[in-house]
Structures are given as C-alpha cells and as structure tokens.
C-alpha cells in the first residue's frame, strides 16, 4: 500500500506517505495564510522523496478538521480530487484525533485535551482518553472560548496551539514523556514504551502532523475500524443574515 495523508486544519500544511510499514515521506510548511500555494508542491515533493509516482498511491486520507474554513477546504478538495483522478478511495479523519494520536505515539496515556486555534478568540477542542490500545475521542469536537471549556478539560495536558494562545485558560501544555521514535521516516511509528511523566524537551505538539494522521489511518484500516466521512467539520454556520429591508433613499 501507499497511503497519502493530507491535513490543512491547523497552521501546518502537512503531507505524508505511508507504505503500511511506516511513514516514507513527510512534508510540512507552517503558513496559516497560504495553504493552496504550498500543498500541491508538497504532495509532489513527498512523492519524489518516496520514489513514487502519483498512480502508485493506493489510498488517500484527509483531515476533515475542525479548522479555519478556508485552509481546511484546500486540504479536503485536494484529497478528494487527487483520489478521484487516480481512482482510489479517499477517507476522512477528525484532525483533532490526529493530534491526540501524535501524543499517543509519544507515549502519553490518560486524559488529553486537544485545543487548536479556531480564530475569533475561540478554540476547537476535544477530550481524548489514551490507553495502551489507542487514543479514543470521548467528547467533542466543539468550538468555544478556551475559558468556557469544562474545568476538568482545562486541567488536562493539552496539545494544539490552545495553551500558547490562551495560557491562562489552558495552563497545562503537553510535554512529551520521552523522546519520540527516532525512525519517524522508516519503520513503523511505535508508541514509546514509557509511562507518562518522563523527561520533557521534545517540541510541543502544536499542529497536526500528516505522519501521525497517516499512521492513525493505517491502523484504522488494519483494524477495519470506522472513518469519519469526508464532510468538513465546520462547527460554525456561515456568517450571514437574510437581506435587511431596503433603506429609504429620501432621507
């Protein structure tokens, strides 16, 4: 298999290829305002790095958010269209699950809050419970002000940009219990075999990594588990109001 994973729900425009044994290429750019510029070249670079042609891809998975709409759509339409063009299946996964899975791969166990930037002074948030088997979403995703999230959520170690943006409301940024697997780019990403609370020092998990998304997708496929559909998780309605009555022009 060669699975192409794409996510544009956070600041990271991120692409990875996974061959069933591990991530064979990953490309990421941090640029919250230029998703469409970077994404296609990244796919091309990742394919070149993996020595693969587009037609070698067997599966596509996209992060369906929640995330700021404009960037989110770039990833979803790219995944859908690419898969259609080469006639392979395309599946969606909640992007917050990919962030939780990244924490799981680093060996975190127990409760976890994922809180990403929803702009307008709000966060997209979900509560995950991580055990030896997997990271499971218990509640969410929701969109709200960080301070309005349940107190027990805010007390949890938190991944995503939430704690960076709202340190008072989200005072427990996640720190890696141990260094992450070294062979991110070869061999399966294995969860580190250590309990929570080890030494810190790894970069915090601020944005979605397509490598983690790909790894999660491959595990779900292997387990014949469910995916999340291909509809974006907007969580907000468009900002519109029905047309107001015409104003007088006569003063």
């Amino acid at each position: 298999m060669l699975l192409l994973a794409i996510d544009t729900s956070t600041t990271a425009i991120t692409v990875a290829l996974h061959d069933g044994d591990g991530v064979v290429a990953e490309e990421t750019t941090l640029d919250a305002r230029a998703h469409a510029e970077h994404l296609a070249p990244e796919v091309q670079h990742a394919l070149a790095a993996a020595g693969a042609r587009p037609a070698d891809v067997t599966d596509v998975v996209v992060g369906i958010g929640p995330g700021p709409f404009t960037g989110l759509r770039v990833g979803i339409v790219t995944g859908r269209t690419f898969a259609f063009a080469i006639d392979v299946p395309v599946r969606g996964l909640c992007s917050l699950d990919a962030l939780a899975h990244a924490a799981w791969l680093r060996g975190h166990r127990g409760d976890l809050l994922v809180a990403t930037d929803a702009r307008r002074k709000e966060v997209y948030a979900a509560h995950h419970l991580l055990d030896e088997g997997a990271a499971t979403r218990v509640a969410g995703p929701v969109v709200d002000k960080a301070m309005n999230l349940p107190d027990d959520w805010r007390a949890m170690p938190t991944v995503g940009r939430g704690p960076v943006l709202y340190p008072e409301a989200l005072p427990h940024p996640f720190t890696s219990p141990v260094p992450p697997p070294v062979e991110v780019l070869r061999g399966q990403m294995r969860p580190a075999n250590t309990s929570t609370g080890g030494e810190a020092g790894e970069p915090p998990l601020l944005d979605v990594s397509a490598g983690a998304l790909a790894d999660l997708a491959v595990r779900r496929l292997a387990a014949d588990a469910e995916f999340d559909g291909l509809e974006p998780l907007y969580l907000r309605r468009p900002d519109v109001a029905p047309a107001a009555p015409t104003k007088s022009t006569l003063g």
Partner: protein, 348 residues
C-alpha cells in the same frame, strides 16, 4: 503537445462551480453547478456559502464534464484554472482542485485571469478572435471595457466601473421593484412590457467633463439610487409603481451607456470587432441595442450564447487551450490566487 490539446478548465471565482473541457478550439463539455438558490434569500452572493458549495460540487462537476466530453482524466494534456479576480475563498477551492489534478495526472497547469477567459470563450463559439478585439464584459462582479490585441498575452483595460457592476445594479433595482434575485432576467422580462423612455433616468459618466476624465469608465450607483428615489416617491404619494416602465427605463439607461462607450472605444481605437461577455450579455435589450449600433457603425458584434456568457468552466478551458497553442509557459505549481488580479495579468 498535440496540435489540438485536450484541456480541462475550472472556474470558481463566484457562485458557479464550472468545469469545461476543450479540444483545441472545440468545446466538448461545459458542466456547471450553481449555488445561486442558496444565496437568493440573502439578496446577494454570500462568500462562505459559495465556498462551501464549491467544495461539495467540485468532484461531481469534474466527473460530469468528463462524461459529457467522453474523455477520461488521463487523456488531458493540461489543466487551467481561474486564479483571479474573484472571491478569495471560492478561488482557493478551484485552484486547489486544479493543482491536485495537475499533480495526479502529471500535466502542466495554467492559472488564468477570469476576465480574459470571458473573452476567450468566444473562440470555441465563433472561431478565432480578430486581433485586436474590443471586449465589453458586464456581469454581477465586473463592468470592463478591454482592448485585446492577444487574449493569451496582451489585454488592456480602457475603463471599468467606478462603483457598482452593471449586474449588481440590476440586482439592486430588482429588489426595489420587488423582483427576485438574481435581478437580471427578471428586470429584462418585466421591461419587455414597459416603455423605455417613460422615465428619464441618468446616464452615469456621460457629461462633457466626465467624458474627458472617465471616457470609458462606468458608474451605476447614481442610477440605482435615482430609481430607488423615484419608486419611493411613488410609494409615498400612494400611487402604484409602474414596474414594467421603471424596469424598461432603468435597463435602457444601463445598456445605452454600455453600448455607446463600447462603440466609441471601437472607433477611437480603430477596432472593428466588438465582443460582449459576462452574465449581463444575456440581457435581451443589450443584445438588441448593441446589434443596432454595431450595424450602423460597421462593427462586427460577437456575443457567445447565454450559457457561455455567465461564469463557466468552458471559458477557462478555452483560454487554457490558447495558452498551450501559443506556447505560453505554464504556471508554477505554487501559483497563488489573487482576488483582485488586474486584467493585464492574463496568466500567473
């Protein structure tokens, strides 16, 4: 590249998801999905609603275009896409989809100008464009007068609207008259029963001084306000509003200025072909008056059929095919969108 390149074009600059397929200068498919009904109750296009609809319509519309054309994506020689001008969020959906196709199919991509595409579409309708051609583009988003020596490389703006686009004025006047959105077809229909000289509405930017400073520019905001005031006076006086007469007189004021300036531009630039495109080109009175005035001036009028005047993917494919035929360098895969792309930038 083959002599007759097979090009797929994607258009998402406003509320129409358009995918067209052209072989050389022959139109094979023109699939369009519109979200206009979703905007009707808001009285205008809502950008976020349009963007959401583009995402949902994109793959089904590509699929339909391929089926209609009887081709598979693997047959394509190039992809072209509207890179601007237009609604930023809408443009991004089309450009991302076009790039995904270009990567997946390993084809070149051309990021082209929406307005130049409105001109190029007539190549697949009425054959090669005389060089130069004068183009009057009138829609809900644009009102421009362009001198086009070469649609792939050299498009010059002679003038454009200073305020509302012509189609926007139709929408606003329709609202004042209690007609549905989009206003163009409804005003046109109502006007057929009315008297176009019943009310003397103003012709914007046609007075002596304005003709010096804004010779080929347009203004429809004052006209729209004049109509609203006239109607409101009637309401206040408790008199019925003669909808047909108002519609006809308003419409006449718009198309009179459009055609007068377009033909003046033809004469002063020594151009004997006038092309009218954009959604307002579907207006029956604009077509009739343009025909009359062109015939009198010895200018050949070209107007694509209504389906090719409104936003569509065929026009983008048509311009993309011209880019291939003329050997233009394709765009970089990192090409950006530009919501206010100047018309002089034909290819990004």
């Amino acid at each position: 590249m083959p002599d007759e390149p097979l090009v797929l074009g994607i258009e998402t600059s406003c509320d129409e998801t358009g995918v067209g397929i052209v072989r050389g200068e022959t139109l094979l498919a023109d699939a369009v999905a519109s979200s206009v009904d979703e905007h009707a109750r808001f009285g205008g296009v809502v950008p976020e609603v349009a963007s959401r609809a583009h995402l949902e319509a994109m793959v089904p519309t590509i699929e339909r275009a391929c089926r209609d054309a009887g081709v598979t994506l693997r047959d394509l020689d190039a992809i072209s896409v509207t890179a601007g001008p237009g609604l930023a969020g809408s443009l991004l959906v089309g450009v991302a989809a076009a790039k995904a196709l270009a990567v997946a199919l390993d084809t070149p991509i051309y990021g082209v100008n929406h307005l130049a595409s409105h001109v190029a579409v007539d190549i697949v309708e009425h054959g090669p464009l005389p060089e130069p051609t004068m183009a009057l583009l009138v829609s809900g988003g644009h009102s421009s007068l362009l001198l086009v020596p070469d649609v792939t490389d050299d498009v010059r703006s002679l003038g454009s609207t200073m305020d509302d686009a012509a189609g926007e004025a139709f929408d606003k006047v329709a609202r004042v008259l209690g007609l549905p959105f989009p206003g163009g077809p409804h005003v046109d229909r109502a006007a057929r029963e009315g008297d176009q000289v019943a009310i003397d509405f103003p012709r914007g930017l046609t007075s002596g001084r304005d003709m010096e400073r804004h010779r080929f520019d347009f203004s429809f905001s004052g006209l729209k306000t004049a109509v609203a005031r006239w109607v409101e006076h009637r309401h206040r006086a408790g008199e019925p509003v003669p909808v047909a007469d108002v519609a006809a007189s308003f419409q006449e004021a718009v198309v009179d200025v459009l055609t007068k300036k377009a033909l003046l531009a033809c004469r002063e630039n020594d151009v004997d072909h006038l092309l009218i495109g954009g959604g307002v080109a579907a207006n029956s009175r604009l077509r009739a008056l343009a025909e009359e005035r062109c015939a009198r001036a010895g200018v050949t009028l070209r107007v694509p059929r209504p389906g090719l005047c409104t936003d569509n993917g065929a026009m983008v494919a048509a311009l993309g095919a011209q880019m291939v035929l003329k050997g233009r360098e394709p765009s970089d895969l990192g090409l950006p969108t530009d919501s206010s792309m100047p018309v002089t930038t034909v290819l990004t």
